[in-house]
């Protein structure tokens, strides 16, 4: 046991700690702790009144036990008693215990507050500081209510000791962060700002944190702080290294205060007053100059403190973005750091340069460092530094250097760390698309990407290349030729097969003239990969084959033969079997004309934000976090936007099933007909014919497609996902809320696990497919969910599926919860999510005339039948997107009902087992104000209210 250093007396505590340290096993430790807990409990409960010293000792022991990681459920009262002790050390331990172990037991808080109140009014500075520290540590709302009025007074009072002022300032900051509504500076504002002028540097240091936070929220009220901050900064910057005595840190004058001053200035635009601005520019120049001076000490603390100020100054220069001279100097300085031997500096320089790259003044200067950055990407030993280098290359990329940067990133990918590959792939894909001068370069790049890092090429990336090829006829022939060549490789990535299958299925004819890539050669090439592929890819290939029959009638018999084999039409996978059967039948029954219509070339995709960009935003968003909280789900704002590309054509796997039961919605778009329709299996029977059905003319011609009815529903999914996807990307949106207007997508994703959802609803019933994907290379064990039993082992990279049936018994507001548990590398992961089942899923759309609509509207005129909300638009007010969302809601969107064509009205009936609930909806956008008014009327008040809540988050 070490000599207890200063003025300490609790020997019993020291002995206890020694005992714990001597325990050989966890069990022994727990035994010792339980013995001690029993002892303390009996002391606390004993008849004999404990003296203050013993109380202090036992409370301290409890604290130690708690810090070892054990739960403590008693002793709080004794700790509170200590607060009112006159002995400083007893009070101090009491406060420490409260600060570490406080719970929201309101009874206790009141007692604590009483003790604090006494200490605050004691006029004993040490007691006051203890009380303030406690408030700052706990920072609960009850404390804010009790003390938010008093503390500003203490802070600015003339006779308050410096140390108390410091504690009061930071205490107030903490309360402001918890309960900004309770901390009102009002009359104190100017005196608080003037604390920047205080003689005591410690007071300034503490006060500036408070002022910065308040300035961020109320910049106008606090704007006088700018000139004060500039003069304070100027005094520090120009002081000699010894002027500030103990505030000089390793020869750097007041580094913490300097950084905070520079941070405060970043809350404001450049000073308007010329003199102030001149002085500030001078400061910034001095800081940049100092960076060039030889160091006053070899200690790393010296250079860290100096550079901390430098980086903060550069951040301010970037924030102003108006002084080209300073920006370029900053860039040069960072350029020097890029080759510094300190890893930390290289890291920070790369990071800081990333923001400089986006300024028009310094973009070119940043670009001059390209070789160094490329070199960093290749040679840095720390993956986090390489990551910064990749970020910077991405940020400095423009048309002039895109080819070089993309090539470097591609070559880096071959050896890149697994942890950053996916992001690199996305970045390459985005740069390639953004700066593509000729699209053959783009196609080459993406195919290279698949070749080099196929596993990391997410669906968005290959969907996007297909979108682009389909939309640009100048590149289609080249794409066909290139994929054909790429597929020659004996082992090519499955993603390559998917792209190859899709593109040859569409554009194989463009290269069929060459005997080396004749239709049969193309078909055999694709089919040679078939058996190595997963079910979804095989399904895609089958669709490509039927497209081949249309493109090249001469391949018909070969392909029919393939489709006819047992391994196809009797495949144990129902999806493959269904496709084989349907395509075989289609190819033999339908006339060439019908075939040509059904299998027509894909129409161009609507232009929209690249789904990849959305994905990158999502990845870069704050949500790249690990398992655990629901908030994570919220942050994953992005969408698997590209999904629908696939659904439209080549992956109706689940969609097919889903279209069986979902009710068709009214607005299919002609361009998709050729695709959607030919996936619908003969077994379909559908009550509500979709308007698209007759357009196809298939009903009579081909019994196969006798009911191509659910075309509509599929299309709605397509649209409802497409629209919001682009716009909600990156927004802090509840994962759950994203599913209000759509049925499929990713519910949750972190570094370990991805949960995808496909769902379908009909009347009051629903079915949901949950896909749990293990994103790691290590198996999850003891995997379980609260829904139903599932295989407890999930191999690395594998996906397990669960299907649940849902029945809506009566209307509801709370979504069912899904809890998932599993072990990953020994650590238990526990996840709790809301299942995206909302009341609107059970909508049946109801078409009605304007007259009927308003008649019903009037019938639902009791106040509780209406719910209304006026809110700001969260997304661009795009009519098509709005329509898609409203359709995704499940109601019928009624045209020509509202006299104002800008408004939307919808009607539907919610089907529950208990009853049917009619709902009417009216959405009035106000483009000028960027606001919406949403009104819902329903025969059941709770439903109107719930729908209103759900929907107001959607636009």
């Amino acid at each position: 046991m070490p000599a207890v250093s200063k003025g300490d007396g609790m020997r019993g505590l020291a002995v206890f700690i020694s005992d714990i340290r001597n325990c050989k096993s966890k069990e022994a430790e727990i035994k010792r702790i339980n013995k001690e807990l029993a002892n303390i409990r009996s002391k606390f409960k004993g008849d004999k009144a404990l003296d203050g010293y013993s109380k202090k000792k036992y409370v301290c022991k409890l604290l130690f036990i708690f810090l070892l990681g054990h739960d403590i459920d008693f002793g709080h009262m004794e700790a509170v008693n200590l607060l009112s002790s006159n002995k400083y050390t007893e009070k101090q331990i009491g406060y420490l215990f409260i600060s570490v172990l406080v719970n929201s037991n309101s009874e206790l808080i009141r007692l604590i507050n009483n003790a604090i109140k006494n200490d605050l009014s004691s006029r004993n500075p040490t007691f006051m500081c203890l009380a303030l520290h406690c408030i700052a540590n706990v920072g609960s709302r009850e404390m804010a209510e009790a003390f938010a009025g008093e503390i500003p007074r203490i802070l600015v009072a003339g006779d308050t000791m410096d140390s108390v002022k410091q504690s009061a300032a930071l205490c107030l900051l903490r309360l402001y962060k918890t309960s900004p509504d309770l901390v009102l500076m009002g009359e104190w504002t100017s005196r608080v700002v003037h604390l920047l002028n205080d003689q005591h540097m410690g007071v300034v240091t503490a006060a500036i944190s408070l002022i910065t936070c308040l300035s961020q929220k109320n910049p106008d009220e606090f704007k006088t702080c700018v000139s004060l901050a500039v003069s304070r900064l100027s005094r520090i910057v120009s002081s000699a290294s010894t002027d500030l005595q103990d505030y000089t840190y390793y020869f750097v004058p007041a580094p913490w205060l300097s950084c905070k001053l520079l941070r405060l200035l970043q809350c404001y635009p450049p000073p308007e007053d010329g003199a102030v601005k001149g002085r500030l520019v001078e400061c910034l120049e001095t800081i940049l100059n100092k960076a060039q001076e030889p160091p006053k000490s070899k200690k790393v603390q010296h250079s860290n403190a100096k550079n901390a100020i430098l980086f903060e100054a550069i951040a301010l220069i970037i924030h102003y973005d108006s002084e080209p001279n300073l920006l370029v100097r900053a860039c040069n300085q960072l350029g020097q750091f890029l080759q510094h031997r300190e890893t930390n500096l290289r890291y920070l320089a790369l990071e800081s340069m990333c923001t400089l790259a986006s300024s028009e003044f310094s973009h070119e200067a940043v670009k001059t460092h390209i070789e160094t950055v490329i070199n960093a990407l290749k040679t840095e030993r720390d993956v986090s530094v390489r990551q910064r280098a990749a970020d910077l290359l991405y940020a400095m990329c423009d048309r002039s250097n895109a080819k070089q940067i993309v090539a470097e990133m591609l070559s880096y990918l071959e050896t890149a760390d697994y942890s950053i590959r996916e992001e690199m792939v996305l970045k390459v894909a985005i740069l390639a698309e953004k700066y593509a001068v000729d699209y053959s370069w783009y196609v080459d790049t993406i195919l290279n990407l698949i070749r080099i890092a196929g596993d990391y090429v997410s669906e968005e990336v290959w969907y996007r290349v297909i979108q682009i090829v389909i939309n640009r006829d100048d590149v289609q022939g080249y794409a066909a030729k290139t994929v054909f060549e790429a597929l020659q490789a004996p082992a090519c990535h499955e993603n390559m097969v998917k792209v190859g299958g899709y593109i040859l299925g569409e554009f194989g004819n463009l290269i069929a003239g060459d005997p080396r890539s004749s239709p049969l050669v193309q078909f055999n090439l694709l089919h040679s990969k078939f058996h190595l592929c997963s079910v979804p890819t095989r399904a895609l290939l089958l669709s490509a084959y039927i497209k081949f029959i249309n493109l090249f009638p001469e391949t018909k018999s070969t392909i029919q033969e393939v489709l006819r084999c047992d391994s196809q039409i009797r495949n144990s996978d129902v999806e493959l079997q269904q496709r084989a059967v349907e395509y075989l039948k289609l190819s033999s029954i339908a006339s060439t004309d019908v075939l040509a219509t059904v299998l027509e070339e894909m129409p161009p995709f609507p232009e929209r934000e690249s789904s990849i960009l959305a994905k990158l935003k999502k990845k870069k968003g704050p949500g790249a976090v690990s398992a655990g909280e629901l908030e994570e789900g919220k942050r994953e704002g992005g969408e698997v936007n590209g999904w629908e590309v696939n659904q439209q054509k080549s992956e109706p796997s689940q969609e097919n099933a889903s279209s069986l039961t979902t009710s068709p919605s009214p607005t299919p778009t002609a361009m998709h007909l050729s695709l959607t329709s030919f996936f619908f299996p003969s077994s379909l029977s559908q009550s509500t014919p979709s308007p698209s059905a007759d357009l196809l003319g298939l009903r009579s011609a081909a019994p196969v497609s006798a009911a191509p009815v659910s075309a509509g529903s599929l299309l709605v999914d397509v649209f409802s996902e497409a629209g919001p996807a682009a716009s909600t990307a990156g927004v802090n949106d509840d994962g759950f809320l994203r599913f209000v207007c759509k049925n499929n997508g990713v519910l949750f994703e972190n570094q370990l696990l991805q949960i995808g959802i496909k769902s379908e609803y009909r009347q009051n019933l629903g079915r949901m497919y949950l896909f749990y994907g293990n994103k790691t290379s290590v198996q999850f064990v003891s995997f379980s969910t609260t829904l139903k039993p599932v295989d407890p082992l999930v191999e690395g990279g594998a996906q397990v599926q669960q299907v649940i049936n849902i029945e809506c018994l009566s209307d509801f507001s709370d979504a069912p919860l899904l809890n998932i548990k599993f072990r990953y590398g020994g650590a238990l992961q526990n996840l709790s999510l809301k299942l995206p089942v909302t009341i609107n899923k059970f909508f049946q759309p109801t078409e009605m005339s304007s007259h009927d609509f308003f008649q019903r509207w009037k019938q639902l005129s009791q106040p509780q039948q209406e719910a209304q909300k006026i809110f700001k638009a969260n997304h661009p007010m795009d009519t098509e997107v709005l329509k898609a969302k409203l359709l995704g809601l499940g109601t019928a969107l009624l045209d020509n009902v509202d006299p104002n064509p800008e408004n939307f009205v919808c009607a539907g009936v919610i089907q529950t087992k208990a009853q049917q609930i009619g709902c009417l909806l009216r959405l009035e956008p106000n483009a000028q104000a960027q606001m919406y008014r949403l009104t819902l009327r329903s025969s059941k008040d709770t439903v109107a209210k719930r729908l209103c809540e759900l929907l107001s988050e959607q636009f």
Binding site: M1, P2, S5, K6, G7, D8, G9, R11, G12, A14, I17, K57, C60, L63, F64, L67, G69, Y88, T89, E90, Q92, T126, L132, A136, G139, S140, S163, Q166, S167, L170, C171, L173, M201, G202, T205, A206, S209, Q245, Y247, Y249, P255, W256, C259, Q301, A305, N307, A308, F311, E312, T343, N344, L348, R381, D382, S384, P622, V625, S626, G628, A827
Partner: protein, 156 residues
């Protein structure tokens, strides 16, 4: 500044939280951060991105000191916050070692509270912080009453 803690071989010696979190959340975060920091090799940079925060860490002998700070926080100055705290401990205990922190954890807390409050630097002057702590110790010595024999040998 979100939180500040010291760890060794996966054992947490001292932790301080400046944002309200539940105990299970704290435990989970500690576990994650400890795992990540211990996996770092020497010469790697002292900053890590984690969730939407940055972890700034530094190793002193067998102890790691870590701070989780907000994204826009200045990394280098945070690193020096850690160093100043170590200096304070060192000065107070006289070449501080891990055992000092284990046996006098309450002192380590007091020093931290004097130096950083609510996640922000309160007083960066070494002299002033130590003076405050020493004054408190003086109060303590005055207040100390004579102890029983049993207490003297550590039996209660």
């Amino acid at each position: 500044l979100a939180n500040n803690r010291k760890i060794r071989q996966g054992k947490l010696r001292l932790q301080k939280w400046y944002v309200p979190l539940s105990d299970p959340q704290k435990k989970k975060i500690s576990r994650e951060v400890i795992q990540m920091v211990l996996a770092r090799k020497p010469k790697m940079c002292s900053f890590l991105e984690w969730r939407d925060l940055k972890i700034v860490y530094k190793r002193y002998a067998s102890l790691y000191f870590c701070c989780a700070v907000e994204d826009q926080e200045n990394e280098l100055i945070t690193l020096e916050i850690i160093h100043r705290y170590v200096e304070l401990l060192d000065k107070y205990f006289g070449s501080v070692c891990e055992l000092d922190i284990i046996f006098n954890f309450e002192k380590a807390y007091y020093i931290l509270d004097e130096f950083i409050l609510g996640g922000e630097a309160q007083e960066t002057s070494k002299k002033i912080v130590l003076k405050a702590i020493e004054q408190a110790d003086m109060l303590q010595e005055e207040a100390e009453a004579p102890r029983s024999v049993l207490e003297e040998i550590g039996l209660t």
